[in-house]
C-alpha cells in the first residue's frame, strides 16, 4: 500500500465564521478583511453578470467562479505588482484583484482579443487567460527562470484546476521548479470537478498537494473557502519564493458551485445533494459572519456595498458594449512584430470577407 503521508491543512474560519484556532496577526487589520469581503462580493456579482450576459448572447462561453471567490481574491492580494500572474480560465477573481478592468474580462469572454491587451499597470506582464489545460504551468516556470537568470526578487504565480494536475505540463513543471528551485508558486483550485470528472477519478493521490512530494517541493492544503487561510499560506509561499527558498504547491480545497461553463449542465452528472451540501461551505457568507461577529459589518453596509458594486459593474458592461468594433486586420497586424509584405494580400482578402459579413460579423 502507498505510504500515507500527512499534508498540512490550514483553516482559520469554520463554516460559521468562527475562528477554528488562533488567527494570524495580520487579521487585526480590519481594512484588509473588509477589502477581502468587498472584493469577493464584487467577484460574485460580476460573475453573475457574466453568466447573464452569456445567456442573452452578449458574450460567449464563460467559466463562472462561483464559490471559488476566495482563492483568486486572496492570491491576487498576496502578490505584489512586480510579481507575474500566469492564470487559467477560472481566474476572474484573480484578474480583478490584479487590476484587470472588468470590461477587458468581458471583452475576452466576448470573443475579442483586445480583452487580453489590458493596460492595467499592475498586470502588464501577466499572461492572458490560458485555455489549453496546464500549459500555463510551464510558462510560469519560464517566467520564474527569467527572474532567476536576472536575479530579480520577483515571483511567478500560476493557477490551475484539479483536473489540470493530471497533465504532463503541470507535473513536468513541478519537477523543474523543484530542481531549479524556482521562484514560482503553484496554486491549485481543487473545486472537485473537471467538467464531469470528479476528483476521485482524476488521481489516486491522497491529496493533490502530494504531487509536490514527487518534485521534492513543499505542498500543502488550505481550505479554499477560507480567504484568511488562503491569503496567509499563499503569502508565505510567495515570500519564501521571493527570498530564494524555492517553490510551493498550495492546494485550495473548494467546490465549483456552478456549471463548468455556461456550455455545461452539471445536473447531468452531479448530485443535487452534493451541491446543496457544498453551498454550506461557500466563502463569502463565512467571512461575512466573521465580520458581523467582529462588529465590522451589518446589513446596511451590505446594502450599500451591493449598490456600489452594481453601479461599477453596470458601468463596465456599458464600456464593454460601447467598445468599437475591432479592425479585422488586427489578426495580421499582431501576427509578427512587423508584417512581412507578402502577408498584405491575405490581409486584404480578410478585410473583404469581413466587409461582406458586414454587421453580421458576430454570428
Amino acid at each position: 500500500m502507498p505510504l500515507s503521508v500527512p499534508i498540512s491543512y490550514t483553516r482559520y474560519l469554520d463554516d460559521h465564521g468562527q475562528p477554528s484556532g488562533e488567527l494570524p496577526g495580520w487579521v487585526d487589520d480590519p481594512q484588509l478583511l473588509l477589502d477581502f469581503h468587498r472584493q469577493m462580493t464584487l467577484v460574485r456579482a460580476f460573475d453573475q453578470k457574466c453568466v447573464a450576459l452569456q445567456r442573452t448572447g452578449q458574450i460567449g462561453t464563460y467559466a463562472s467562479t462561483l464559490g471559488q471567490e476566495a482563492i483568486g481574491t486572496a492570491l491576487g492580494r498576496a502578490m505584489t505588482e512586480a510579481d507575474v500572474l500566469i492564470p487559467y480560465y477560472r481566474d476572474t477573481a484573480t484578474q480583478l484583484q490584479r487590476g484587470v478592468a472588468m470590461q477587458d474580462i468581458l471583452a475576452y469572454w466576448g470573443g475579442d482579443e483586445r480583452g487580453s491587451a489590458w493596460t492595467a499597470p499592475g498586470a502588464l506582464e501577466d499572461f492572458p487567460i490560458c485555455v489549453p489545460i496546464a500549459t500555463q504551468a510551464c510558462h510560469a516556470c519560464g517566467v520564474a527562470s527569467a527572474f532567476r537568470i536576472r536575479q530579480q526578487p520577483r515571483v511567478a504565480v500560476t493557477t490551475c484546476g484539479d483536473g489540470a494536475t493530471s497533465k504532463g505540463d503541470f507535473l513536468e513543471s513541478l519537477n523543474l521548479a523543484g530542481v531549479w528551485q524556482l521562484p514560482v508558486v503553484f496554486v491549485v483550485n481543487n473545486n472537485q470537478w473537471a467538467i464531469s470528472v470528479p476528483r476521485s477519478l482524476q488521481s489516486a493521490a491522497p491529496t493533490l498537494a502530494h504531487k509536490a512530494l514527487a518534485a521534492g517541493i513543499p505542498g500543502e492544503q488550505v481550505d479554499g473557502n477560507d480567504v484568511l487561510a488562503v491569503y496567509d499560506r499563499i503569502s508565505i509561499a510567495i515570500e519564501r519564493a521571493r527570498a530564494g527558498k524555492g517553490p510551493t504547491l498550495v492546494e485550495c480545497v473548494t467546490y465549483r458551485l456552478g456549471d463548468h461553463t455556461t456550455s455545461d449542465d452539471a445536473s447531468r452528472y452531479r448530485d443535487a445533494d452534493e451541491l446543496s451540501e457544498a453551498w454550506k461551505h461557500e466563502p463569502i457568507g463565512r467571512l461575512q459572519r466573521f465580520l458581523h461577529g467582529q462588529g465590522l459589518w451589518d446589513e446596511e453596509k451590505e446594502q450599500q456595498l451591493q449598490r456600489d458594486l452594481g453601479e461599477r459593474i453596470n458601468a463596465a458592461v456599458e464600456a464593454f458594449r460601447s467598445l468599437p468594433e475591432a479592425d479585422p486586420g488586427a489578426a495580421f497586424d499582431h501576427l509578427f512584430a512587423e508584417l512581412p509584405e507578402r502577408y498584405r494580400q491575405q490581409r486584404d482578402e480578410l478585410l473583404i470577407r469581413a466587409a461582406a459579413l458586414g454587421g453580421s460579423a458576430h454570428d
Binding site: G60, P132, G168, Q202, Y269, L335, Y343, R353, A361
Partner: protein
C-alpha cells in the same frame, strides 16, 4: 433496430458508436467526459450506461496519455475510439500519433498493429472560446501511416465512423463541429460502413470542379448553386478521406472540367489544399484551362468568436474564385 427519424451529425456519430460497441466487444471508448456526461458535444451519450465503465472510460485530463494508452490498447487488439475534446487539444498527443500509432505496424513489420480511432471536433464557426476552432488536418495528413477522415453529413459520419473503427490501422476522425447539429438526415442504423479512401461526388457538373471537405462543403455547395444561376456548372467533390487521398476521383473530375478550386478552412500556406493543387497540376497540366485555385482560411491565428467568420471561406469568395477560373485564359 432501424432508426428512421432524421438525426443530426452528432446523433449519427452516437448511433455508430452504439452500433460498433454492440457488434464488437473489442470496441472501447475513452476520453475526457465521455462517460456519464456523454461527451461535451453529446457524441457518447448512453454508451456508459449501456456498456459500463470498463468499456467507456473517463480518463484523467491528459491528452498525451489518452493517445498513448489508445496505442497500448490497440496493440492488444482492442479497437479504442479515443475522443479529444477539441482539435486544439490534440497536439499533446502528436508524439504518440507520429512516432507510435502511425508506425507500430511498420516498426514491427506487422507483428503488432494499431487499430485505433481518434475522434475530435474540427473547425470553426461555432463561436467557441479560443483554441476551439482549429482545423489543422494538414498536420495529421502529412504523417505517413495515418488515415485522416472528415465526414460532411450525418450519413457519411455514420458510415465513415463505422469504417474507421473497422479499419485495422489508425484513423483520425475529424468531426466538423459546425455541422454537429445544423443538418439533419435520415440515417439507416444498419451497421453499413462507407468506403474509406474514397471521395464522394456531391454534385455533378461540367465546367468547374470544387473540392472541399467537412463544414466548408456547406459554403461550397451554396457557391455551386449560385454559380449555376450564372451558368457555371460545378462538380462538387467531398474529399472525405484526406489521407490517403483519392486522387483518381478528383483527377477524373478535373480531367472533365479542366478547372479546379479547393476550399478549406485551414490556413492556406502548407495547408491541405496545396497537396491537391500540386497533384492536379502534376497530373493534368496539359488539360487544365486555368490554374488550380485555393479558397481557404488565412495564415494568421484564427480570430476569436467575434471575428472568426471573417476567417472562414465564404460563398462570395468561392464564387469570385469560380468566376475568375472560368475567365481563365482571357486574363
Amino acid at each position: 433496430m432501424t432508426e428512421r427519424k432524421p438525426v443530426c451529425m452528432v446523433e449519427a456519430i452516437n448511433l455508430a458508436l452504439h452500433r460498433a460497441m454492440a457488434d464488437d466487444p473489442d470496441v472501447v471508448v475513452l476520453g475526457e467526459d465521455v462517460g456519464p456526461n456523454g461527451g461535451v458535444f453529446r457524441a457518447t451519450v448512453g454508451l456508459h450506461e449501456r456498456f459500463g465503465f470498463r468499456r467507456v472510460m473517463d480518463t484523467p485530463l491528459a491528452e498525451t496519455l489518452i493517445t498513448g494508452i489508445a496505442v497500448g490498447m490497440a496493440a492488444q487488439g482492442l479497437k479504442p475510439v479515443a475522443e479529444i475534446q477539441f482539435m486544439g487539444f490534440i497536439y499533446a498527443g502528436m508524439e504518440h500519433l507520429v512516432s507510435h500509432a502511425s508506425r507500430l505496424r511498420s516498426r514491427t513489420r506487422g507483428r503488432l498493429s494499431c487499430p485505433m480511432v481518434m475522434r475530435t471536433p474540427h473547425g470553426g464557426g461555432i463561436h467557441a472560446p479560443e483554441h476551439h476552432g482549429e482545423s489543422t488536418e494538414a498536420l495529421l495528413a502529412h504523417v505517413p501511416g495515418l488515415r485522416v477522415v472528415v465526414p460532411s453529413s450525418p450519413r457519411r459520419a455514420y458510415g465513415l465512423l463505422l469504417a474507421a473503427i473497422a479499419d485495422p490501422d489508425p484513423v483520425i476522425f475529424l468531426e466538423p463541429s459546425r455541422l454537429y447539429r445544423s443538418v439533419q438526415q435520415v440515417v439507416e442504423d444498419d451497421g453499413q460502413a462507407l468506403p474509406l479512401d474514397t471521395c464522394f461526388t456531391l454534385r455533378e457538373g461540367k465546367d468547374l470542379t470544387l473540392v472541399s471537405w467537412g463544414a466548408a462543403l456547406k459554403e461550397t455547395l451554396e457557391a455551386a448553386s449560385r454559380l449555376a444561376e450564372e451558368g457555371i456548372d460545378c462538380e462538387v467533390i467531398d474529399v472525405a478521406t484526406l489521407k490517403p487521398l483519392d486522387g483518381d476521383t478528383i483527377l477524373a473530375s478535373v480531367g472533365k472540367t479542366g478547372r479546379c478550386i479547393i476550399v478549406h478552412e485551414a490556413a492556406r500556406s502548407y495547408g491541405p489544399g496545396a497537396e491537391i493543387a500540386a497533384l492536379v497540376q502534376e497530373q493534368l497540366f496539359y488539360s487544365l484551362h486555368a490554374p488550380v485555385q485555393r479558397v481557404t482560411g488565412f495564415d494568421c491565428v484564427i480570430p476569436y468568436a467575434r471575428q472568426e467568420m471573417a476567417y472562414l471561406p465564404d460563398v462570395d469568395s468561392i464564387c469570385e474564385a469560380g468566376r475568375q477560373t472560368m475567365r481563365g485564359n482571357d486574363q
